[in-house]
Subunit: 343 residues, 2 copies
Amino acid sequence: MKIAVDAMGGDNAPQAIIEGVEKARDQFTDLEFQLYGDPAKVKPLIKNEERLTMVATSQEISMGEEPVRAIRKKKDSSIVRAAKAVKDGEADAFFSAGNTGAVLAAGIFVVGRIKGIDRPGLTSILPITKPGAEQKSFVYLDSGANAESKERNLVQYGYLGKFYAENVLGVKNPRIALLNNGAEEDKGDKLHKAVWQELNKQADLNFVGNIESGDLLFGKADVVVSDGWTANAALKATEGTAKMMLTLIRHGILNGGLRAKLGYLLLKPVFHQIGKRMNTSTYGGAVLLGLKAPVVKTHGASDAAAVANTISQIRTMLKSGVVEQTVEFFSQDSSVDKADKNE
Amino acid sequence: MKIAVDAMGGDNAPQAIIEGVEKARDQFTDLEFQLYGDPAKVKPLIKNEERLTMVATSQEISMGEEPVRAIRKKKDSSIVRAAKAVKDGEADAFFSAGNTGAVLAAGIFVVGRIKGIDRPGLTSILPITKPGAEQKSFVYLDSGANAESKERNLVQYGYLGKFYAENVLGVKNPRIALLNNGAEEDKGDKLHKAVWQELNKQADLNFVGNIESGDLLFGKADVVVSDGWTANAALKATEGTAKMMLTLIRHGILNGGLRAKLGYLLLKPVFHQIGKRMNTSTYGGAVLLGLKAPVVKTHGASDAAAVANTISQIRTMLKSGVVEQTVEFFSQDSSVDKADKNE
């Protein structure tokens, strides 16, 4: 299995990317890597060239660039070249820690959508932090690729999420929920009421109804389907609040004198455990589901361990055949199409 | 100043309501209260009848009832009667801990909107938890009264929030921000892009641009304007995550043996401080801004202290003349109307 790696993207690139790739390469003997980037910067960092191929590119897309224009203009950027390798069958999957918009655009316009999928969904794997929960993570899409969504898109996300949860997370008959502003069937605006009805009709989906954003981490569903706009608001609020709580605790300890510092030392293992549980990078990167191959974007601030985790996730996607299964499902004249006719 | 109190609404009613009212009555000698409810249940709980008038009502609206139908059918409910007293000038403000939808409906249909306001906004007062922040709370509206909003509504929320922050929180020239999916001017869907432009044009508003949901508690704005849908998603995610973090800490301590328990004892003051800071009930209830009188809904689970806090908030609203100021502003041929013509 060959993974095309954008070696230049991310706050700690190329250092953290190369380290993470080498870590994953040493762990998984069935993986080969193509490193797209500036050889002058990348090559000196490589410790061992085994199963690593350097592919020289002359351009970089920075974090702030307008994505669609960037991928159109910078044909020799590491992002576009790596995506192109997947399109041309030279690689099986595309990995980047770079400009999210550019990775999404390269995924959609270069790698290409699966036939029948209107809009791919950016899929985050998030922790279930409820103590004692059986599953440790859940699938959340669209977590922000599309600011405006249609009924049909959200029904398709139900299937994309289901296939991912089954194949990659190993969840049997995953519970699919709809992110909404209340638990009851009649909650939500026009779009969400219609999506509820449509998801409820899908015989192939184990639809469990609405979920509210306050319950996301409580393990009530394996797949949470949402329009990108709402999901983005809920996800950022979740991350921001977790960060704020940790800030408050840190501040309280620093200003609480010797007593607080001693208390912290004693509670350190507990805090460490919580930090580990809340650290989304251990669950892998964000996958743009609905494309002809795995396109996975890890956080810009990822370190080598996060990069290696994400590559392990890509490997599971490739081995499980989740993309092939999705292609096959959407190639059939499926009931998902009916949602379209109702619009 | 006379406050019409729904004595029957809330999980701990009428006990917590009466206790809270008596607490506020003892604290503020300029307040009088009308208690709407079942005298058989309410009267035995009253310790001292000073400045308390019992008004017998025969119906109750429960938490699960469909709001608009409930207020239409149950004319002799404590909610409708208390709202009616405000409409008829017998009371100056309406307080309830009951069915949120019914309180909103009674506010809109019985108390009535200020002329020029299309949709009142449910306004939460939320904590700024950033250590060292000058302000301790901010104004957040519409936090869920309307699932679908228009440009004009959001611009009006900017003014409603400004008047509240100035008069009730005592913030000079409050910073107004728009909740959006990114910080830059061009972020968001069509609605949010248009609202950004319109807010930016208002010479009377200190508009500071977009805010993302992850930054809500960080004190970057004094008033956060949002459509009700997005605000609801962000608010519930914020509350849910804070709750989950506390659950994780509690679980870690309970399962961490003697060491963790000792650590907890030492850190107890720090946790206590954080809990106090995050406890939204200390900042008062949710106000339906844009009505002809203060209509304030406190959390269903409120205890006597939360009830008393909310009454103190209502008193500040009455004394500051925030409603009168809002009425005067919207009675003028203001620039807010221009937003309407652009739609």
